[in-house]
């Protein structure tokens, strides 16, 4: 049984060589030209912020907003860690794009049969025991992959052992915790990281949905009660009218 996998990106180590980008494009068969933003043919990219290089990709949340939003369950958090997408189920509603706190999923707007595209942490490769293509390609180990607990320990060890690091592991709390972590020597907000809520996103909608059965039970009882009263009043009015006319006749 495989453990939950995760990726750690150490921004202090990244040299901006874009090997991860190219490896990702290669394994998916996308055209090799460099893109500046995430796109349906660029599931990870390296952004430049000042003199730092920041990788962008799916964060593989522990309790993903996209998976809770997807009405047909095309997006799933797998036990092995990756959040995967089943194109055969997708109906193209794009609620996942609305829901993602990191604005990661991309849509194939220029196709007539469009699907959602996002990183799946090379779930198929990982199932075979191989690391994600981007991690494997990194020449300086700025990205490393491994068991989530061990990766988190490693991140913590680095942040605590060296005073240059910002005392925060991005992804440890964001959206209730993710499976991709970033550590940096420059504050994350200066590197274009989203200030995602520090709670599992599906909780936000679960509360509202939880009201459903209550609405049906309480509402149903209430409406039946109202209808009963209405009927009763009509019957009483009818009986009174009959009595009245009987009296008048006698």
């Amino acid at each position: 049984m495989a453990t939950t996998r995760a990726i750690l990106v150490d921004i202090t180590k990244c040299i901006g060589c874009r090997s991860c980008e190219q490896a990702c494009k290669q394994i998916h068969g996308f055209p090799a030209d460099t893109e500046l933003k995430l796109s349906p043919t660029a599931l990870t990219i390296v952004e430049e912020h000042g003199n730092r290089f920041v990788r962008r990709m799916c964060m593989h949340c522990q309790d993903p907003a996209c998976a809770s939003a997807c009405l047909v369950g095309a997006l799933q958090k797998t036990a092995a860690g990756p959040v995967t997408y089943d194109a055969a189920k997708c109906i193209g509603c794009r609620y996942c794009l609305v829901a993602c706190p990191f604005s990661v999923p991309r849509y194939e707007w220029n196709k007539l049969v469009p699907y959602v595209k996002k990183c799946d942490m090379c779930a198929a490769r990982q199932a075979k025991g191989q690391p994600p293509a981007c991690v494997e390609a990194c020449p300086v180990q700025a990205s490393i992959a491994g068991d989530r607990d061990e990766i988190l320990d490693e991140a913590l060890r680095r942040v605590l052992s060296d005073s240059k690091y910002v005392k925060h592991i991005y992804g440890s709390e964001e959206a209730g915790g993710t499976s991709v972590f970033f550590i940096s020597d420059v504050p994350f907000e200066k590197l274009g990281f989203a200030a995602a809520p520090k709670q599992a996103m599906p909780v936000l909608t679960a509360n509202a949905l939880g009201d459903g059965p209550t609405v049906i039970l309480v509402g149903g009882a209430l409406l039946s009660g109202l209808y009963w009263i209405t009927q009763r009043r009509a019957l009483v009015a009818l009986a009174e009218a009959r009595e009245q006319s009987a009296k008048e006749r006698s």
């Binding site: 009405l71 047909v72 189920k89 609620y95 049969v113 809520p197 936000l204 909608t205 459903g212 509402g219």
Partner: protein
Amino acid sequence: MTTRGKTNAASSETTPRFPKISFWRTVVALIFAAGLYSMYARFALGFNVATNLTDPQPWGLWVGLGTLCGVGLSAGGFAIAAAVYLLGLDRYRPILRTSVLISFLGYCTVCVGMLYELGLPWRIWHPIVMWNRHSVLFEVSWCVMLYTTVLALEFSPALLEKIPWVRFREMYLRWHHSILIALVMAGTLLSSMHQSFLGGLYLITKGRLDPLWYTPYLTTMFYLSAIPAGLAVTIMAIYLCVRSLNARVDMNILSDVSRVIAPLLAMYGVFRAVDLVNRDATRYLWMWREETLLFWLEIALLVVVPLVLLNQEKVRNNPLYLYWTSATIVAGFITNRLNVSITALQSSSAVYYVPKWTEFAATFATITAAVVAFRYAVIYLDILPKNPPPQRWMLTSPPAHA
């Protein structure tokens, strides 16, 4: 009643073989032509040609206007049906069929709009067999499917009573009568649920939806605003039927509806105000930015102006004033839904989304089709009581050569 219906239909058939070219017919034809091109653009050329949607703004006018407003403005049907059947408010019975018909057609436009909106519309049936009960959208899609069925059943007698086979007709109407109360109750519950869940869709955008709109009570907000807006649409439709389709409606009914709308709007306004104060969001009310301006436009049109107008006896008792007051409410409601779905996400997505003309054309064409269907339903079915048709030739004296 049925004979009168027949003569009515016959008299409107005495128009020439070719429909007259009138102003509104030209407008409708132009909208349909534009809509036809939009259909071609969406289904043959794709999203990139037909829309201005992008990854940061994946839901645009089709969701904001087509779905959120389409469902919201169709709330009149369940409100009036519940009032008549469950609360026993018989004085609204004359406008019951009209409001149910509006809702039914409204939901039809939503379902058609869904085909434009979905990237893979031929998979629209997937939610029936592929379930994710944690998804608000899943609940919404089921409620809309079920409620559209309920509305079709609620409205069906108006069509089936025209069937000439007496035994089948009687059998159907008897069956319909026996399930009617259950239908109305189911309709009320389903409506209440998905009207609020439409707001619930945006609960997951915490941190990105503008604080003027993001509240844990988005569900309640959507529910509270949908009922008065749905009733306002009913008033507008009935006014137009009386004005141009020869319908006969007691003005007091519309005044009564407006007397219900006013407190509902006031309640909504108070709820929004309390919520803003509670969330400490009042500082956003006075910032000089587009969001705040559009927020005030929404509040003015949806709450302040209608309340001031409806507070006056003169407005409540005058059909034309009521019509325009209702139009203000509907405009405010549309502003609110577009604000939630577009304006409120603008600054966090860093994209300034303006719908492409084909997006407008597709939605308008769908709505126009519903309006045309409504018109013919009122003309040919017994939706509203009608005045006797005007006589074209008068024979007041015997012919000269008898």
